[in-house]
């Protein structure tokens, strides 16, 4: 499919960011998701998390960021994210540092698709998101 040399199987890209209260509050404002689990500290004291946690969809944004880094390595005009299948398997608290990693796992040239394994982990190496994404080659 002409991309094998640009993006070999097993190729990995990463992005790391410390998630702040400001990130989560801005994310709530953009998306409209002001669920108490994200913005009400008093409510959260009574949950198993004990404090406010980031939106899972914010982690999906990090996956999108790493997809962008992958796309930048493809021959123009590149590709677009087509499908995300993700599980949120642990909480992200304010101040946690999240590393998002994508690895090229499979190519489906007949469908012009690249399949990536996706994982987000916190500063202790605990997985907080896992799943896969599909990139559709364009042009």
């Amino acid at each position: 499919m002409g991309t094998d040399s640009a993006l070999p199987m097993g190729h990995t890209e990463r992005f790391t960011k410390t998630v702040t209260e400001g990130d989560v509050y801005a994310f709530a404002g953009i998306t409209g998701d002001f669920s108490p689990i994200h913005v009400d500290e008093e409510f959260c004291k009574g949950t198993r998390f004990g404090t406010r946690i980031a939106h899972g969809a914010l982690l999906v944004g990090f996956v999108s960021t790493v997809m962008g880094k992958m796309t930048a390595r493809l021959p123009a005009p590149g590709g677009v994210s087509y499908r995300y299948e993700v599980k949120f398997v642990g909480p992200v608290r304010f101040g946690d540092t999240v590393t998002t990693e994508l690895t090229l796992a499979e190519a489906r040239p007949e469908r012009r698709e690249l399949i990536f394994r996706a994982r987000c982990a916190n500063q202790r190496g605990e997985t907080v998101l896992e799943g896969q994404t599909i990139l559709k080659l364009i042009g």
Copy 2:
């Protein structure tokens, strides 16, 4: 599972928002995804979209918002988003008005899971995201 009266099968919740340039630029700043398809108008003139488009992950944020509305209808302590499986099937341009709709499609009481069909559509009724989400009941 004690939730059937609070959330009957087929129950639907919606959220509508006009997506602005400011939303997309703030989203890029939070997530780190400054892919040219989102922030470089000159680059985008050469793509099939013709202009900058919103991040697909922003739509996932809208799905999260409607999940929050669903959760608010459950008996305390409610639930948390566990799994998202979504396809991006059309572009969202700046100024498009996106309506996100979730419908309770299935209950799996033995796994304490509720399954929702998810769809985002623009002001012309064209689908831009489709998929499903799983809510895990907590407490």
